[in-house]
Amino acid sequence: MERQEIIDGLVEILKTVRTINPEKLVGVTEETDFITDLNAPSTEMINIIAKTEQKFGVEFEDDDIDDLGSKVKNVVDLILKAKQKA
């Protein structure tokens, strides 16, 4: 799975999060930060992670979620890692 394909999928998830301004989702890159760039409430991050697991058919380790950074590339890396494991 290509990294850009994962980013596109993440943007689709972020569009369903009503507390994120849709205008901020134009031009999301690997360096985009969920918290500082998208102003995602920290409480929404776990919802985004759960929806990510569902969309990409993976299950993350709790330790990996605890250590997860807040940039898009961190989630992309985690998805690829989980897919490799599977």
């Binding site: 369903t16 009503r18 507390t19 409430p41 409480t43 929404e44 991050m45 776990i46 919802n47 992670i49 759960a50 929806k51 569902q54 299950e59 979620i65």
Partner: protein, 450 residues
């Protein structure tokens, strides 16, 4: 300690009312003797598993809300809501169940009616005191089912299970919306919750702790709550929806489980007067107590009499109208009527039972019915005891007991007190009564501003 001379005014109100578009529609329907009770499809779709089929319910669409369903746990689980009229920001909606949204909408309306400036609303001297009966809700049920029955990870239930279900969620959500800096709490006293919160708010102002409080009770539409009471066999059945709630009628056979929200804005009287606020009513006194007989459910004649003594201990002025709890349950209504008659006598006032028109809103009952009392003060009309068609011509069984120390006449002897239709009369003072499981009794007295 009460501060002598410090009074509390009601300066705003709002809420969520079954089958009504807004407060004005609610008022118009009540004073034209309409019932707001309907057959509830959410109950009837379960066929014979649910005993009662009527409710004063409110749908999401009727409140201008659109659920956003979760893809994670269940097809019918509202992850959050869209406010079609953009009244509540998405960030506040994310932390709210439907009841909390109704509370926020009611608070907005109450503050608008009160005319509070932002600096007043966001003051350290402004509190929020709102509660609910919390009989159950879809959010907890779904989260628990996902974990315990489906064996899914906790994170699949989402990160808002706690804030959307915690005991004082309505108060917390309203506080986060209006950004007050004073007290934020919830009082819980079952079916007396709505009035209990208003009474507590009254005391906060009366005792000088706060100058303004947004107060009330909410009960969000919930089949989970409904089935709890349905299983107790205490809900009305066998009547057409509009005839199902019939306080004092000889054929009453249970209450109608309903939902709604009532929020009021209270303010220290002199502050309200000084800024030229429209004073809807003035609170004379609030009193609450417990039966003390160890019985969770059975109403207490003695407990209610002690409640009346406390309520009238201030100035002893009797009310023109008694807004009763009047649930349409066999024992509750008769004990309540007889305690009122024992204290106030057989004439000189009228009894109003708003549950006859919209059913029993549980944790919201006391506050929505408090609003009906404010509407009676405003309109100078008594709301009816709808469907109180026939009063028992025979004494109740408990009246024949040797232990009974109350009035011995049958309920039919008090027909003159119980109107079946709304009517106009001069109303200066109204007493509002509500009781709850656990033997808790609450009463408040309100008057027109003189």
């Amino acid at each position: 300690m009460q501060i002598t001379g410090r009074k509390v005014a009601v300066v705003g109100m709002g809420g969520a009312f079954p089958n009504c578009s807004d407060l004005a529609d609610f008022s118009e329907k009540l004073f034209s003797n309409q019932s707001l009770i309907r057959t509830w499809d959410k109950a009837t779709e379960h066929g014979g598993k649910v005993r009662s089929s009527v409710s004063g319910f409110i749908t999401d669409g009727e409140m201008g809300l659109e659920p956003v369903y979760s893809t994670l746990v269940s097809n019918n689980f509202p992850e959050t809501y869209i406010d079609k009229y953009d009244r509540i920001p998405a960030g506040n909606l994310a932390t709210a169940d439907v009841g909390s949204i109704w509370a926020m909408l009611g608070a907005q309306d109450a503050i608008k009616m009160a005319g509070w400036m932002t600096s007043e609303t966001q003051s350290e001297k402004t509190g929020v005191v709102i509660g609910s009966g919390t009989g159950g809700n879809l959010i907890l049920r779904t989260a628990w089912h996902s974990f315990f029955e489906l064996g899914k990870k906790t994170r699949l239930s989402g990160s808002h299970t706690v804030d959307r279900t915690m005991t004082y969620r309505e108060a917390a959500n309203v506080s986060c919306l209006i950004k007050n800096q004073g007290v934020c709490e919830a009082i819980g006293s079952a079916c007396a919750t709505g009035l209990g919160n208003i009474g507590y708010a009254y005391r906060l102002i009366k005792f000088g702790v706060q100058d303004r409080v947004i107060a009330g009770g909410v009960e969000g539409t919930s089949l989970e709550t409904f089935i709890g009471f349905d299983g107790m066999q205490v809900l009305s059945r066998g009547f057409a929806p509009e005839e199902s709630s019939r306080p004092f009628d000889v054929n009453r056979n249970g209450f109608v489980c309903s939902f709604g929200g009532g929020i009021v804005a209270l303010e220290e009287y002199e502050l309200a007067k000084a800024r030229g606020a429209n004073i809807i009513g003035v609170i004379d006194e609030y009193f609450n107590n417990s039966d003390g007989d160890g019985d969770m459910f059975y109403p207490s004649f003695e407990g209610q009499k002690r409640m009346w003594k406390g309520l009238l201990s201030n100035d002893g002025i009797k009310p023109d109208v008694v807004k009763v709890h009047g649930t349409s349950t066999p024992v509750g209504d008769s004990i309540e009527l007889l305690s009122v008659v024992d204290v106030l006598g057989e004439e000189g006032y009228h009894i109003s039972a708003p549950k006859s028109q919209f059913g029993h809103m549980l944790g919201a009952a006391g506050s929505v019915e408090f609003i009906t009392a404010l509407l009676m003060l405003k309109e100078q009309k008594v709301l009816p005891c709808l469907n109180s068609t026939t009063l028992n011509p025979e004494p109740e069984a408990f009246q024949k007991s040797e232990k009974w120390a109350g009035p011995v006449k049958p309920l039919a002897a008090y027909r003159n007190l119980i109107p079946q239709q709304s009517f106009a009369k001069q109303i200066n003072r109204i007493a509002c009564l509500n009781y709850g499981f656990g033997g808790t009794n609450s009463a408040i007295s309100i008057s027109k501003d003189q």
